[in-house]
Amino acid sequence: MANMAQTVQDERLKQEGLGARLMKRPELGAIAGVILVTAFFLITADSAMFTLSGIMNFMTPAAQLGILAIGAAMLMIGGEFDLSIGSMVAFAGLIFGASVVTFGLPLIVAIPLTMAVAAGLGAMNGMIVLRTSLPSFIVTLAFLFVLRGASLVGLKLASGGSTQLRGVRDAVQDDWLAPFFSGDAFGPIFVALAEIGLIDTFKNGTPKVPGIPVEILWFIALSLVATYVLLRTPQGNWVFASGGDRNAAANSGVPVRKVKISLFMVTAICAALVAIITVMDAGSTDARRGFMKEFEAIIAAVIGGCLLTGGYGSAIGAFFGAIIFGMVTIGLTYTDFDQDWFQIFLGGMLLIAVLFNNYIRKRVTGER
């Protein structure tokens, strides 16, 4: 501590404001993007967007994407990709759906089972990548196809010929674990708040917001845990090291193989979690679930400041990246823009948000 104070007095250092120090963190730069996007929608969007229920509304997809994005971000920091997470959502959804509907398992069995299967597949991805030293891009791409195909075949088996498996809601509705993975949390509080008029209600008196969707809580919790792990534990240090330079890390004694395989497993488990939550919420699963989510997750991580080349990034950045992406995709529907222009706006907003975030960070840190 004394040392630090002393080095700060070094004549080779300029004074630097708190703002500048904060903005150096990759995660905090992304906040600038969130602020910009919020400002944009405050001006252009229907005021319903920023009511409590509007916020829950765009945070729900943001959270579902964000859970994936946090896994993807950790894996990217560790220097690898997983293109199979979208398909993994479908496949884990199938495993979970079949467990509860076809085999009638209780959640306490079905959920760990689903996660275990996902983790096993993630480990397999990782092992192939490490054993063959092929790029993870190509290995997990193969799994993208294989798992997507397996979901189709499996669904047809489980549902007797359809590509949709229904009846999950009925199967789980009385399970004591269900409230942790579906629906809205803190319902009674919201009802109470509505009664005293703090929350808007529909004409029939039910609160417009029945609670906080559980995925939002999972999302926040995971972001915090991931941030803690990355910044405060040895394992987090290993993740950065493995992604920064695999050989240098291994030569310094980092168990690179274990780290990478664990990251593949974590990412797969995140996908399984999203699968469980969305399947329970939707009450059904189909062969197209999670389609393209692998890319959206990577996008969110990159918006949040992760480098594609590994070794740099943050979970909190991915958190804000997912929120930006969620706000932009849902937010545009609150505006009066014609749907034909949707993609033009989506692309434009993404670019502007990222440019702005980048611009702010550079100004503040004085990088060239």
């Binding site: 319903a48 939707a282 009450g283 189909d286």
Partner: protein, 286 residues
């Protein structure tokens, strides 16, 4: 008056762009303020969130397509509970009532497929393929199933991705490896129907192999009128956009609503009618 349409297909999908044109036309005619929205891909989870977003805005009417009743039910019910009049269109005829929608405008997929199958069988078909460019969309599965049941003969389903060159090559591959195939049923006109016609031509069997498709495209209709293809199944999706919006506008103004579902299709377009429809199709109306 604010009316919101939430559909599962995108504005850049040739089929849905026609629906959207119908929506726009109705908006123009009724003076209502109408929004058309859809998820970026066929994504039931996101679609339910879009419905929620619409409900938050408390519009005077809501139009939805329902390709997966389980997934969309809570959101639709929430709309109904919130007192928003809902009309369903395109898919979901079977569940529409149960979820509280006022009525449904669309065609029954299975029946349409079956009708097509019967027609193709009557044209002499015995061995067919059903080309599905959107594997996993249950509505499309139903069509192939209907087709297979109506056709009677042997039917293989060929899944493809979204690329015309790939569809053409796959249809050609199927025709070459099984020369008995005499019928090709496509589930979309520009993505499957048109390349299928080219594939049939490239194996030199134009006229021998019957090509039919769901939905319309101007190019495909031209082929129908030239006799290179058998027919297209029109579900007049312009109506699926136009009618629900007008109904809801009338409902908001005067409380009027028709007493039952409106079947907008199926409507087989064969050589005799095709040429009249081409221009309308090119304008995005059929």
């Amino acid at each position: 008056q604010d009316i919101i349409v939430v559909a599962h297909g995108q504005a850049n999908d040739p089929f849905w762009s026609v629906v959207k044109n119908g929506v726009d036309k109705a908006a123009e005619h009724t003076g209502a303020n109408v929004d058309f929205r859809s998820p970026e891909t066929f994504d039931m989870v996101q679609m339910s969130q879009l419905i929620d977003a619409a409900v938050n805005q408390e519009p005077d009417g809501l139009v939805v397509s329902i390709p997966d009743a389980d997934a969309l039910a809570p959101s639709i019910k929430r709309a109904v509970e919130a007192g928003i009049p809902v009309i369903s269109m395109n898919s979901g005829s079977d569940v529409s009532k149960e979820l509280g929608a006022l009525l449904h405008v669309g065609q029954d997929e299975y029946t349409a497929g079956k009708a097509a199958g019967e027609k193709l069988a009557s044209m002499g078909g015995t061995v067919g393929i059903c080309v599905n460019q959107e594997v996993g969309n249950v509505a499309l599965d139903l069509r192939c199933q209907g087709f297979s049941d109506g056709f009677g003969g042997s039917v293989d389903v060929i899944p493809t991705q979204n690329d015309p060159a790939e569809v053409e090559a796959k249809v050609k591959a199927a025709l070459e490896s099984n020369p008995d195939i005499d019928t090709v049923m496509g589930l979309g006109a520009s993505l499957v129907g048109e390349p299928a016609i080219r594939a049939v031509a490239s194996v030199g069997r134009t006229g021998e192999v019957n090509v039919a498709t769901f939905d319309l495209s101007a190019s495909f209709l031209e082929s129908v009128s030239k006799g290179e293809a058998a027919f297209a199944i029109d579900q007049q999706q312009f109506l699926q956009g136009y009618l629900p919006v007008s109904f809801l506008a009338l409902n908001a103004s005067y409380g009027l609503i028709p007493g039952g579902n409106v079947p907008s299709g199926p409507n087989l377009i064969t050589a005799d009618k095709a040429s009249q429809v081409v221009e309308l199709s090119a304008e995005g109306i059929r």
